[in-house]
Protein backbone atom coordinates (compact mmCIF):
# COMPACT_ATOMS: atom_id res chain seq x y z
CA UNK A 1 0.00 0.00 0.00
CA UNK A 2 1.48 3.38 -0.90
CA UNK A 3 2.24 5.75 1.90
CA UNK A 4 1.52 9.43 1.59
CA UNK A 5 3.70 10.71 4.38
CA UNK A 6 6.58 12.90 3.37
CA UNK A 7 5.37 14.26 0.04
CA UNK A 8 2.10 15.75 1.15
CA UNK A 9 3.59 19.03 2.24
CA UNK A 10 2.03 20.93 -0.65
CA UNK A 11 -1.36 19.23 -0.41
CA UNK A 12 -3.98 21.17 1.46
CA UNK A 13 -5.23 18.46 3.76
CA UNK A 14 -8.79 18.60 4.93
CA UNK A 15 -8.70 18.52 8.71
CA UNK A 16 -12.47 18.80 8.95
CA UNK A 17 -14.50 15.69 8.12
CA UNK A 18 -15.31 15.69 4.41
CA UNK A 19 -19.05 15.36 4.00
CA UNK A 20 -21.73 16.27 1.59
CA UNK A 21 -24.66 18.22 2.95
CA UNK A 22 -26.56 16.07 5.43
CA UNK A 23 -30.16 15.28 4.65
CA UNK A 24 -32.73 12.58 5.22
CA UNK A 25 -32.23 11.24 1.71
CA UNK A 26 -28.78 9.83 2.47
CA UNK A 27 -29.11 6.06 2.18
CA UNK A 28 -25.72 5.31 3.72
CA UNK A 29 -24.09 7.51 6.34
CA UNK A 30 -20.59 6.64 7.61
CA UNK A 31 -19.28 8.59 10.55
CA UNK A 32 -15.87 8.57 12.27
CA UNK A 33 -15.05 5.12 10.95
CA UNK A 34 -11.89 3.45 12.23
CA UNK A 35 -10.94 0.08 10.81
CA UNK A 36 -7.78 -2.00 10.96
CA UNK A 37 -6.92 -5.51 9.82
CA UNK A 38 -5.06 -8.10 11.91
CA UNK A 39 -6.28 -7.01 15.32
CA UNK A 40 -5.29 -3.40 14.73
CA UNK A 41 -1.89 -4.10 13.17
CA UNK A 42 -2.77 -2.69 9.73
CA UNK A 43 -4.81 0.49 9.91
CA UNK A 44 -7.05 1.05 6.88
CA UNK A 45 -9.42 3.86 7.90
CA UNK A 46 -9.04 6.50 10.57
CA UNK A 47 -11.95 8.86 11.08
CA UNK A 48 -13.56 8.28 7.70
CA UNK A 49 -16.81 10.14 7.00
CA UNK A 50 -19.03 9.66 3.97
CA UNK A 51 -22.66 10.21 3.00
CA UNK A 52 -24.15 8.37 0.06
CA UNK A 53 -27.28 10.03 -1.31
CA UNK A 54 -30.30 7.94 -2.21
CA UNK A 55 -30.95 7.37 -5.91
CA UNK A 56 -27.59 8.75 -7.05
CA UNK A 57 -24.39 7.24 -8.41
CA UNK A 58 -21.53 7.74 -6.00
CA UNK A 59 -18.00 6.94 -7.08
CA UNK A 60 -15.31 6.05 -4.56
CA UNK A 61 -11.84 6.37 -6.02
CA UNK A 62 -8.34 6.08 -4.71
CA UNK A 63 -5.04 4.32 -5.29
CA UNK A 64 -4.92 0.52 -5.28
CA UNK A 65 -4.76 -1.07 -1.87
CA UNK A 66 -6.21 1.95 -0.09
CA UNK A 67 -9.20 0.01 1.25
CA UNK A 68 -11.97 0.74 -1.27
CA UNK A 69 -13.19 -2.86 -1.38
CA UNK A 70 -12.85 -3.01 2.41
CA UNK A 71 -15.20 -0.02 2.57
CA UNK A 72 -17.85 -1.93 0.61
CA UNK A 73 -17.44 -4.95 2.88
CA UNK A 74 -17.90 -2.69 5.90
CA UNK A 75 -21.12 -1.26 4.44
CA UNK A 76 -22.31 -4.82 3.73
CA UNK A 77 -21.51 -5.90 7.29
CA UNK A 78 -18.93 -8.49 6.25
CA UNK A 79 -16.35 -6.66 8.36
CA UNK A 80 -16.81 -4.87 11.68
CA UNK A 81 -15.14 -1.53 12.33
CA UNK A 82 -13.24 -0.84 15.53
CA UNK A 83 -15.03 2.50 15.90
CA UNK A 84 -17.68 4.62 14.25
CA UNK A 85 -21.06 4.00 12.69
CA UNK A 86 -22.25 2.83 9.28
CA UNK A 87 -25.93 3.58 8.91
CA UNK A 88 -27.87 2.00 6.07
CA UNK A 89 -31.39 3.42 5.85
CA UNK A 90 -31.08 4.35 9.51
CA UNK A 91 -29.81 0.94 10.70
CA UNK A 92 -26.35 0.91 12.24
CA UNK A 93 -24.89 -2.08 10.40
CA UNK A 94 -22.09 -3.03 12.88
CA UNK A 95 -24.57 -3.24 15.76
CA UNK A 96 -27.19 -5.39 14.05
CA UNK A 97 -27.77 -8.98 15.11
CA UNK A 98 -27.03 -11.63 12.50
CA UNK A 99 -30.69 -12.06 11.55
CA UNK A 100 -31.28 -8.30 11.35
CA UNK A 101 -28.14 -7.91 9.25
CA UNK A 102 -29.41 -10.56 6.84
CA UNK A 103 -32.73 -8.70 6.60
CA UNK A 104 -30.89 -5.51 5.63
CA UNK A 105 -28.73 -7.39 3.14
CA UNK A 106 -31.86 -8.33 1.23
CA UNK A 107 -32.17 -4.59 0.50
CA UNK A 108 -28.61 -4.26 -0.80
CA UNK A 109 -26.51 -6.02 -3.34
CA UNK A 110 -22.91 -6.21 -4.44
CA UNK A 111 -21.27 -6.80 -7.78
CA UNK A 112 -17.96 -8.47 -7.03
CA UNK A 113 -14.82 -7.85 -9.04
CA UNK A 114 -14.70 -11.47 -10.17
CA UNK A 115 -18.44 -11.65 -10.79
CA UNK A 116 -18.61 -14.45 -8.18
CA UNK A 117 -21.12 -16.48 -10.18
CA UNK A 118 -21.71 -19.97 -8.76
CA UNK A 119 -19.71 -22.17 -11.08
CA UNK A 120 -21.94 -25.23 -10.64
CA UNK A 121 -25.10 -23.36 -11.70
CA UNK A 122 -26.13 -22.14 -15.15
CA UNK A 123 -26.57 -18.43 -15.82
CA UNK A 124 -30.33 -18.87 -15.40
CA UNK A 125 -29.99 -20.67 -12.07
CA UNK A 126 -27.47 -18.11 -10.83
CA UNK A 127 -29.98 -15.31 -11.34
CA UNK A 128 -32.85 -17.41 -9.98
CA UNK A 129 -30.80 -18.27 -6.87
CA UNK A 130 -31.67 -15.23 -4.68
CA UNK A 131 -35.31 -15.44 -5.77
CA UNK A 132 -35.53 -19.11 -4.80
CA UNK A 133 -33.80 -18.41 -1.49
CA UNK A 134 -35.83 -15.43 -0.42
CA UNK A 135 -39.24 -15.76 -2.01
CA UNK A 136 -42.02 -18.30 -2.34
CA UNK A 137 -42.66 -17.40 -5.96
CA UNK A 138 -43.65 -20.18 -8.35
CA UNK A 139 -41.10 -21.39 -10.88
CA UNK A 140 -43.13 -19.80 -13.69
CA UNK A 141 -42.91 -16.35 -12.10
CA UNK A 142 -39.23 -16.86 -11.25
CA UNK A 143 -38.56 -17.76 -14.88
CA UNK A 144 -40.29 -14.59 -16.05
CA UNK A 145 -38.35 -12.40 -13.62
CA UNK A 146 -35.03 -14.03 -14.55
CA UNK A 147 -35.67 -13.53 -18.26
CA UNK A 148 -36.53 -9.88 -17.66
CA UNK A 149 -33.33 -9.36 -15.65
CA UNK A 150 -31.29 -11.11 -18.33
CA UNK A 151 -32.96 -8.99 -21.00
CA UNK A 152 -31.93 -5.88 -19.07
CA UNK A 153 -28.26 -6.90 -19.32
CA UNK A 154 -28.57 -8.31 -22.84
CA UNK A 155 -27.95 -11.94 -21.94
CA UNK A 156 -31.38 -13.54 -22.36
CA UNK A 157 -29.93 -15.76 -25.08
CA UNK A 158 -27.13 -16.96 -22.81
CA UNK A 159 -29.34 -18.27 -20.00
CA UNK A 160 -28.40 -21.92 -20.57
CA UNK A 161 -24.65 -21.31 -20.57
CA UNK A 162 -22.45 -22.19 -17.62
CA UNK A 163 -20.27 -19.45 -16.06
CA UNK A 164 -17.12 -21.09 -17.49
CA UNK A 165 -18.52 -20.53 -20.99
CA UNK A 166 -18.91 -16.76 -20.53
CA UNK A 167 -16.40 -14.07 -21.44
CA UNK A 168 -15.23 -11.69 -18.70
CA UNK A 169 -17.68 -8.99 -19.78
CA UNK A 170 -20.61 -11.40 -20.05
CA UNK A 171 -19.77 -12.83 -16.66
CA UNK A 172 -19.86 -9.35 -15.12
CA UNK A 173 -23.22 -8.64 -16.79
CA UNK A 174 -24.70 -11.95 -15.60
CA UNK A 175 -23.53 -11.10 -12.09
CA UNK A 176 -25.19 -7.72 -12.46
CA UNK A 177 -28.46 -9.42 -13.44
CA UNK A 178 -28.19 -11.53 -10.29
CA UNK A 179 -27.42 -8.43 -8.22
CA UNK A 180 -30.68 -6.77 -9.33
CA UNK A 181 -32.79 -9.93 -9.04
CA UNK A 182 -34.34 -8.84 -5.74
CA UNK A 183 -34.66 -5.17 -6.80
CA UNK A 184 -32.28 -3.84 -4.13
CA UNK A 185 -32.17 -0.25 -2.94
CA UNK A 186 -28.38 -0.17 -3.03
CA UNK A 187 -25.89 -1.80 -5.38
CA UNK A 188 -22.20 -1.70 -4.58
CA UNK A 189 -19.94 -2.20 -7.58
CA UNK A 190 -16.44 -3.42 -6.77
CA UNK A 191 -14.12 -2.44 -9.63
CA UNK A 192 -16.77 -3.13 -12.31
CA UNK A 193 -14.49 -2.03 -15.17
CA UNK A 194 -11.34 -3.94 -14.15
CA UNK A 195 -9.97 -6.15 -16.92
CA UNK A 196 -12.71 -5.26 -19.41
CA UNK A 197 -12.21 -4.48 -23.08
CA UNK A 198 -13.46 -1.04 -24.26
CA UNK A 199 -16.75 -2.43 -25.57
CA UNK A 200 -17.54 -4.36 -22.38
CA UNK A 201 -16.54 -1.33 -20.35
CA UNK A 202 -18.93 0.86 -22.35
CA UNK A 203 -21.72 -1.69 -21.86
CA UNK A 204 -21.20 -1.80 -18.10
CA UNK A 205 -21.07 2.01 -17.84
CA UNK A 206 -24.35 2.17 -19.75
CA UNK A 207 -25.94 -0.51 -17.56
CA UNK A 208 -24.96 1.19 -14.31
CA UNK A 209 -26.40 4.46 -15.57
CA UNK A 210 -29.61 2.93 -16.92
CA UNK A 211 -30.25 0.86 -13.77
CA UNK A 212 -29.80 3.99 -11.72
CA UNK A 213 -32.07 6.16 -13.84
CA UNK A 214 -34.79 3.59 -14.62
CA UNK A 215 -35.02 1.77 -11.29
CA UNK A 216 -33.78 4.54 -9.00
CA UNK A 217 -31.20 2.23 -7.46
CA UNK A 218 -28.56 3.93 -5.34
CA UNK A 219 -25.17 2.96 -6.70
CA UNK A 220 -21.74 3.01 -5.12
CA UNK A 221 -19.00 2.42 -7.65
CA UNK A 222 -15.55 1.65 -6.32
CA UNK A 223 -13.04 2.07 -9.09
CA UNK A 224 -9.86 3.67 -10.28
CA UNK A 225 -11.04 3.94 -13.87
CA UNK A 226 -11.37 7.71 -13.70
CA UNK A 227 -12.57 8.53 -17.21
CA UNK A 228 -15.38 5.97 -17.20
CA UNK A 229 -16.77 6.71 -13.78
CA UNK A 230 -16.68 10.48 -14.11
CA UNK A 231 -19.11 10.27 -17.04
CA UNK A 232 -21.85 8.74 -14.90
CA UNK A 233 -21.14 9.69 -11.27
CA UNK A 234 -23.21 12.30 -9.47
CA UNK A 235 -20.75 12.49 -6.60
CA UNK A 236 -17.14 11.40 -6.16
CA UNK A 237 -15.11 10.63 -3.05
CA UNK A 238 -11.35 10.26 -3.23
CA UNK A 239 -9.99 8.12 -0.43
CA UNK A 240 -6.34 8.28 0.57
CA UNK A 241 -4.32 8.24 3.74
CA UNK A 242 -7.07 6.39 5.65
CA UNK A 243 -9.80 8.97 5.07
CA UNK A 244 -11.72 10.91 2.46
CA UNK A 245 -9.36 13.59 1.16
CA UNK A 246 -11.62 15.13 -1.46
CA UNK A 247 -15.23 14.98 -2.50
CA UNK A 248 -17.68 16.71 -4.78
CA UNK A 249 -19.25 16.49 -8.19
CA UNK A 250 -17.03 15.35 -11.10
CA UNK A 251 -16.88 18.98 -12.33
CA UNK A 252 -15.79 20.26 -8.93
CA UNK A 253 -13.05 17.68 -8.74
CA UNK A 254 -11.81 18.44 -12.24
CA UNK A 255 -11.41 22.07 -11.24
CA UNK A 256 -9.73 21.24 -7.91
CA UNK A 257 -6.16 22.48 -7.40
CA UNK A 258 -5.47 19.75 -4.88
CA UNK A 259 -2.25 18.02 -6.09
CA UNK A 260 -3.47 14.57 -5.05
CA UNK A 261 -6.79 15.03 -6.86
CA UNK A 262 -5.00 16.24 -9.96
CA UNK A 263 -2.44 13.43 -9.83
CA UNK A 264 -5.22 10.90 -9.56
CA UNK A 265 -7.44 12.40 -12.26
CA UNK A 266 -4.55 12.90 -14.67
CA UNK A 267 -2.91 9.57 -13.89
CA UNK A 268 0.50 11.11 -13.21
CA UNK A 269 3.19 8.64 -12.17
CA UNK A 270 4.68 10.75 -9.40
CA UNK A 271 3.22 13.26 -7.00
CA UNK A 272 1.66 13.08 -3.57
CA UNK A 273 1.37 9.36 -4.24
CA UNK A 274 5.06 8.64 -4.75
CA UNK A 275 6.31 6.53 -7.66
CA UNK A 276 8.98 4.93 -5.45
CA UNK A 277 8.10 2.68 -2.58
CA UNK A 278 9.65 3.89 0.66
CA UNK A 279 13.39 3.10 0.58
CA UNK A 280 16.77 4.57 1.51
CA UNK A 281 18.50 6.63 -1.18
CA UNK A 282 19.80 4.71 -4.21
CA UNK A 283 23.34 6.14 -3.73
CA UNK A 284 23.44 4.86 -0.17
CA UNK A 285 22.34 1.38 -1.21
CA UNK A 286 24.57 1.15 -4.32
CA UNK A 287 27.67 3.09 -3.29
CA UNK A 288 27.38 2.62 0.45
CA UNK A 289 27.38 6.40 1.09
CA UNK A 290 24.82 9.13 0.79
CA UNK A 291 25.86 11.69 -1.88
CA UNK A 292 23.00 14.04 -1.11
CA UNK A 293 21.35 13.50 2.23
CA UNK A 294 18.25 15.36 1.08
CA UNK A 295 17.40 13.16 -1.92
CA UNK A 296 16.32 9.91 -0.31
CA UNK A 297 13.11 8.56 -1.73
CA UNK A 298 10.13 9.01 0.45
CA UNK A 299 7.21 6.64 0.15
Amino acid sequence: MPSFSGKLGGLKRKEEPVMTSANADDLVVIENLDFAHNYGAKEVFNGLNMKIPRGKITAVMGPSGIGKTTLLRLIGGQLKPQKGSIKFAGHNIPELSRSDLYEQRKRMSMLFQSGALFTDLSVFDNIAFPLREHSDLSEEIIETIVLLKLEAVGLRGARHLMPAELSGGMSRRAALARAIALDPELIMYDEPFAGQDPISMGVIVKLIKSLNSSLGITSVVVTHDVAEVLTIADQVFIVADQKVVASGSPEELKQSDDPLVQQFLEGEADGPVAFHYKAPSLAKEVLGKDINEGEGHAG
Partner: protein, 258 residues
Amino acid sequence: MLDKVAALGKTVLDNIAGAGKAMVMLVRALIGKPQLRKSWPLLMQQMYSVGVLSLIIIIISGLFIGMVLGLQGYKILVDFGAEQSLGPMVALSLLRELGPVVTALLFAGRAGSALTAEIGLMKATEQLSSLEMMAVDPLRRVISPRFWAGFYSMPLLALIFSAVGIYGGYLVGVRWLGVDEGAFWSVMQSNVEWGQDILNGIIKSLVFAFVVTWIALHKGYHCVPTSVGISRATTSTVVTASLAVLGLDFVLTALMFG
Protein backbone atom coordinates in the same frame (compact mmCIF):
# COMPACT_ATOMS: atom_id res chain seq x y z
CA MET B 1 16.39 -16.96 22.08
CA LEU B 2 13.61 -14.51 22.87
CA ASP B 3 12.56 -14.57 19.20
CA LYS B 4 12.28 -18.34 19.28
CA VAL B 5 10.10 -18.21 22.39
CA ALA B 6 7.95 -15.54 20.74
CA ALA B 7 7.66 -17.63 17.56
CA LEU B 8 6.69 -20.67 19.60
CA GLY B 9 4.11 -18.64 21.49
CA LYS B 10 2.70 -17.31 18.20
CA THR B 11 2.43 -20.84 16.80
CA VAL B 12 0.59 -22.05 19.90
CA LEU B 13 -1.76 -19.05 19.84
CA ASP B 14 -2.40 -19.49 16.10
CA ASN B 15 -3.26 -23.15 16.64
CA ILE B 16 -5.62 -22.34 19.51
CA ALA B 17 -7.25 -19.60 17.41
CA GLY B 18 -7.54 -22.05 14.50
CA ALA B 19 -9.21 -24.65 16.71
CA GLY B 20 -11.58 -21.99 18.02
CA LYS B 21 -12.48 -20.88 14.50
CA ALA B 22 -13.07 -24.50 13.47
CA MET B 23 -15.36 -25.02 16.46
CA VAL B 24 -17.34 -21.83 15.81
CA MET B 25 -17.69 -22.78 12.13
CA LEU B 26 -19.04 -26.22 12.98
CA VAL B 27 -21.47 -25.01 15.64
CA ARG B 28 -22.85 -22.26 13.41
CA ALA B 29 -23.15 -24.64 10.48
CA LEU B 30 -25.01 -27.33 12.39
CA ILE B 31 -27.13 -25.45 14.90
CA GLY B 32 -30.23 -23.73 13.62
CA LYS B 33 -33.73 -24.31 12.42
CA PRO B 34 -33.72 -27.23 9.98
CA GLN B 35 -35.00 -26.38 6.51
CA LEU B 36 -35.67 -29.79 5.02
CA ARG B 37 -37.14 -28.51 1.76
CA LYS B 38 -33.93 -26.65 0.93
CA SER B 39 -31.34 -28.84 2.62
CA TRP B 40 -32.49 -32.29 1.41
CA PRO B 41 -31.56 -31.75 -2.28
CA LEU B 42 -28.23 -30.23 -1.22
CA LEU B 43 -27.52 -33.22 1.02
CA MET B 44 -28.34 -35.68 -1.76
CA GLN B 45 -26.09 -33.78 -4.17
CA GLN B 46 -23.20 -33.93 -1.71
CA MET B 47 -23.86 -37.58 -0.82
CA TYR B 48 -23.37 -38.31 -4.50
CA SER B 49 -20.27 -36.14 -4.71
CA VAL B 50 -18.41 -37.37 -1.61
CA GLY B 51 -20.01 -40.81 -1.22
CA VAL B 52 -21.02 -42.34 -4.53
CA LEU B 53 -18.01 -40.97 -6.38
CA SER B 54 -15.71 -42.51 -3.74
CA LEU B 55 -17.17 -45.99 -4.29
CA ILE B 56 -14.73 -47.09 -6.99
CA ILE B 57 -11.59 -46.41 -4.96
CA ILE B 58 -13.19 -47.97 -1.86
CA ILE B 59 -14.28 -51.16 -3.67
CA ILE B 60 -10.98 -51.69 -5.48
CA SER B 61 -8.90 -50.98 -2.36
CA GLY B 62 -11.14 -53.23 -0.23
CA LEU B 63 -10.84 -56.08 -2.71
CA PHE B 64 -7.04 -55.93 -2.87
CA ILE B 65 -6.60 -55.52 0.89
CA GLY B 66 -8.92 -58.49 1.49
CA MET B 67 -6.97 -60.59 -1.02
CA VAL B 68 -3.65 -59.69 0.64
CA LEU B 69 -5.10 -60.53 4.05
CA GLY B 70 -6.30 -63.88 2.69
CA LEU B 71 -2.90 -64.70 1.24
CA GLN B 72 -0.80 -63.54 4.21
CA GLY B 73 -3.23 -65.05 6.71
CA TYR B 74 -3.19 -68.41 4.97
CA LYS B 75 0.62 -68.50 4.85
CA ILE B 76 0.80 -67.84 8.61
CA LEU B 77 -2.12 -70.03 9.72
CA VAL B 78 -1.23 -73.05 7.58
CA ASP B 79 2.02 -73.50 9.54
CA PHE B 80 -0.09 -74.08 12.65
CA GLY B 81 -2.71 -76.14 10.86
CA ALA B 82 -5.25 -73.42 11.61
CA GLU B 83 -6.22 -72.39 8.09
CA GLN B 84 -9.93 -72.82 9.01
CA SER B 85 -9.49 -69.68 11.10
CA LEU B 86 -8.75 -67.64 7.98
CA GLY B 87 -12.39 -66.46 7.76
CA PRO B 88 -12.56 -64.82 11.21
CA MET B 89 -9.02 -63.46 10.85
CA VAL B 90 -9.88 -61.65 7.64
CA ALA B 91 -13.30 -60.52 8.90
CA LEU B 92 -12.09 -59.27 12.30
CA SER B 93 -9.12 -57.43 10.78
CA LEU B 94 -11.41 -55.66 8.39
CA LEU B 95 -14.37 -54.96 10.65
CA ARG B 96 -12.39 -53.83 13.67
CA GLU B 97 -9.47 -51.99 12.07
CA LEU B 98 -8.77 -51.91 8.38
CA GLY B 99 -12.31 -51.14 7.24
CA PRO B 100 -12.79 -47.96 9.29
CA VAL B 101 -9.14 -46.83 9.19
CA VAL B 102 -8.28 -47.40 5.52
CA THR B 103 -11.65 -46.05 4.44
CA ALA B 104 -11.02 -42.90 6.49
CA LEU B 105 -7.53 -42.50 4.99
CA LEU B 106 -8.84 -43.00 1.45
CA PHE B 107 -11.78 -40.70 2.17
CA ALA B 108 -9.40 -37.99 3.42
CA GLY B 109 -7.32 -38.30 0.25
CA ARG B 110 -10.17 -38.50 -2.21
CA ALA B 111 -13.19 -36.64 -0.79
CA GLY B 112 -11.53 -34.56 1.98
CA SER B 113 -9.03 -32.93 -0.34
CA ALA B 114 -11.79 -32.28 -2.90
CA LEU B 115 -13.96 -30.62 -0.24
CA THR B 116 -11.09 -28.37 0.87
CA ALA B 117 -10.17 -27.39 -2.67
CA GLU B 118 -13.78 -26.73 -3.66
CA ILE B 119 -14.54 -24.53 -0.67
CA GLY B 120 -11.16 -22.79 -0.91
CA LEU B 121 -11.84 -21.98 -4.54
CA MET B 122 -15.32 -20.73 -3.67
CA LYS B 123 -13.68 -18.43 -1.16
CA ALA B 124 -10.99 -17.25 -3.61
CA THR B 125 -13.60 -16.50 -6.30
CA GLU B 126 -15.75 -14.61 -3.77
CA GLN B 127 -18.65 -17.06 -4.08
CA LEU B 128 -18.85 -17.36 -0.29
CA SER B 129 -18.83 -13.57 0.09
CA SER B 130 -21.53 -13.25 -2.55
CA LEU B 131 -23.68 -15.74 -0.62
CA GLU B 132 -23.20 -13.60 2.49
CA MET B 133 -24.19 -10.48 0.58
CA MET B 134 -27.29 -12.25 -0.75
CA ALA B 135 -28.31 -12.86 2.88
CA VAL B 136 -27.64 -16.59 2.53
CA ASP B 137 -25.49 -18.06 5.28
CA PRO B 138 -22.63 -19.95 3.58
CA LEU B 139 -22.23 -22.10 6.67
CA ARG B 140 -25.77 -23.41 6.34
CA ARG B 141 -25.78 -23.49 2.53
CA VAL B 142 -22.27 -24.82 1.81
CA ILE B 143 -20.68 -26.28 4.96
CA SER B 144 -23.64 -28.02 6.58
CA PRO B 145 -24.72 -30.31 3.68
CA ARG B 146 -21.11 -31.27 3.02
CA PHE B 147 -20.55 -32.11 6.66
CA TRP B 148 -23.61 -34.35 6.94
CA ALA B 149 -22.82 -35.98 3.59
CA GLY B 150 -19.34 -36.92 4.81
CA PHE B 151 -20.66 -38.03 8.19
CA TYR B 152 -23.28 -40.36 6.66
CA SER B 153 -21.19 -41.57 3.73
CA MET B 154 -18.04 -42.74 5.44
CA PRO B 155 -19.56 -45.44 7.71
CA LEU B 156 -21.45 -46.81 4.70
CA LEU B 157 -18.27 -46.80 2.64
CA ALA B 158 -16.42 -48.56 5.50
CA LEU B 159 -19.06 -51.31 5.60
CA ILE B 160 -18.81 -51.73 1.83
CA PHE B 161 -15.00 -51.81 2.15
CA SER B 162 -15.17 -54.56 4.77
CA ALA B 163 -17.74 -56.61 2.81
CA VAL B 164 -15.69 -56.42 -0.39
CA GLY B 165 -12.50 -57.16 1.59
CA ILE B 166 -14.05 -60.30 3.09
CA TYR B 167 -15.02 -61.40 -0.40
CA GLY B 168 -11.41 -60.76 -1.54
CA GLY B 169 -10.17 -62.94 1.33
CA TYR B 170 -12.66 -65.63 0.32
CA LEU B 171 -11.48 -65.52 -3.31
CA VAL B 172 -7.86 -66.07 -2.35
CA GLY B 173 -8.34 -68.35 0.66
CA VAL B 174 -11.13 -70.59 -0.60
CA ARG B 175 -11.10 -70.34 -4.38
CA TRP B 176 -7.35 -70.18 -4.91
CA LEU B 177 -5.64 -71.78 -1.90
CA GLY B 178 -8.30 -74.40 -1.15
CA VAL B 179 -9.46 -73.58 2.39
CA ASP B 180 -12.72 -75.39 3.09
CA GLU B 181 -15.60 -73.09 2.15
CA GLY B 182 -17.92 -74.29 4.92
CA ALA B 183 -15.22 -73.82 7.55
CA PHE B 184 -14.33 -70.36 6.19
CA TRP B 185 -17.87 -69.02 6.59
CA SER B 186 -19.05 -70.94 9.67
CA VAL B 187 -15.98 -70.20 11.80
CA MET B 188 -16.28 -66.56 10.74
CA GLN B 189 -19.96 -66.51 11.72
CA SER B 190 -19.32 -68.02 15.13
CA ASN B 191 -16.40 -65.70 15.96
CA VAL B 192 -17.65 -62.33 14.77
CA GLU B 193 -19.91 -60.59 17.29
CA TRP B 194 -22.37 -57.87 16.43
CA GLY B 195 -21.67 -55.57 19.37
CA GLN B 196 -17.98 -56.18 19.98
CA ASP B 197 -16.84 -56.22 16.37
CA ILE B 198 -19.33 -54.76 13.92
CA LEU B 199 -20.82 -52.03 16.12
CA ASN B 200 -17.42 -50.93 17.42
CA GLY B 201 -16.21 -50.69 13.83
CA ILE B 202 -19.20 -48.52 12.94
CA ILE B 203 -18.59 -46.29 15.97
CA LYS B 204 -14.96 -45.87 14.91
CA SER B 205 -16.08 -45.01 11.43
CA LEU B 206 -18.53 -42.39 12.68
CA VAL B 207 -15.79 -40.74 14.77
CA PHE B 208 -13.40 -40.73 11.79
CA ALA B 209 -16.13 -39.37 9.53
CA PHE B 210 -16.79 -36.51 11.95
CA VAL B 211 -13.12 -35.61 12.31
CA VAL B 212 -12.04 -35.98 8.66
CA THR B 213 -14.99 -34.03 7.26
CA TRP B 214 -14.63 -31.33 9.89
CA ILE B 215 -10.92 -30.90 9.18
CA ALA B 216 -11.52 -30.79 5.42
CA LEU B 217 -14.24 -28.16 5.71
CA HIS B 218 -12.32 -26.05 8.22
CA LYS B 219 -9.16 -26.06 6.09
CA GLY B 220 -11.13 -24.97 3.03
CA TYR B 221 -13.27 -22.37 4.76
CA HIS B 222 -10.35 -20.72 6.55
CA CYS B 223 -7.69 -21.09 3.86
CA VAL B 224 -5.74 -18.19 2.43
CA PRO B 225 -7.73 -17.47 -0.75
CA THR B 226 -4.84 -17.73 -3.21
CA SER B 227 -3.59 -20.62 -5.37
CA VAL B 228 -0.75 -21.28 -2.92
CA GLY B 229 -3.12 -21.01 0.04
CA ILE B 230 -5.56 -23.53 -1.46
CA SER B 231 -2.73 -25.89 -2.33
CA ARG B 232 -1.40 -25.74 1.24
CA ALA B 233 -4.86 -26.18 2.71
CA THR B 234 -5.49 -29.26 0.57
CA THR B 235 -2.19 -30.84 1.59
CA SER B 236 -2.83 -29.93 5.20
CA THR B 237 -6.24 -31.60 5.07
CA VAL B 238 -4.78 -34.93 3.96
CA VAL B 239 -1.87 -34.82 6.43
CA THR B 240 -3.86 -33.59 9.45
CA ALA B 241 -6.85 -35.84 8.82
CA SER B 242 -4.65 -38.93 8.29
CA LEU B 243 -2.69 -38.33 11.49
CA ALA B 244 -5.89 -37.61 13.41
CA VAL B 245 -7.41 -40.87 12.17
CA LEU B 246 -4.37 -42.93 13.14
CA GLY B 247 -4.08 -41.28 16.55
CA LEU B 248 -7.79 -41.59 17.29
CA ASP B 249 -7.74 -45.21 16.15
CA PHE B 250 -5.29 -46.07 18.88
CA VAL B 251 -7.37 -44.24 21.51
CA LEU B 252 -10.62 -45.88 20.38
CA THR B 253 -9.01 -49.32 20.14
CA ALA B 254 -7.66 -48.96 23.66
CA LEU B 255 -11.10 -47.94 24.92
CA MET B 256 -12.99 -50.64 23.04
CA PHE B 257 -10.68 -53.61 23.16
CA GLY B 258 -7.96 -52.66 25.66
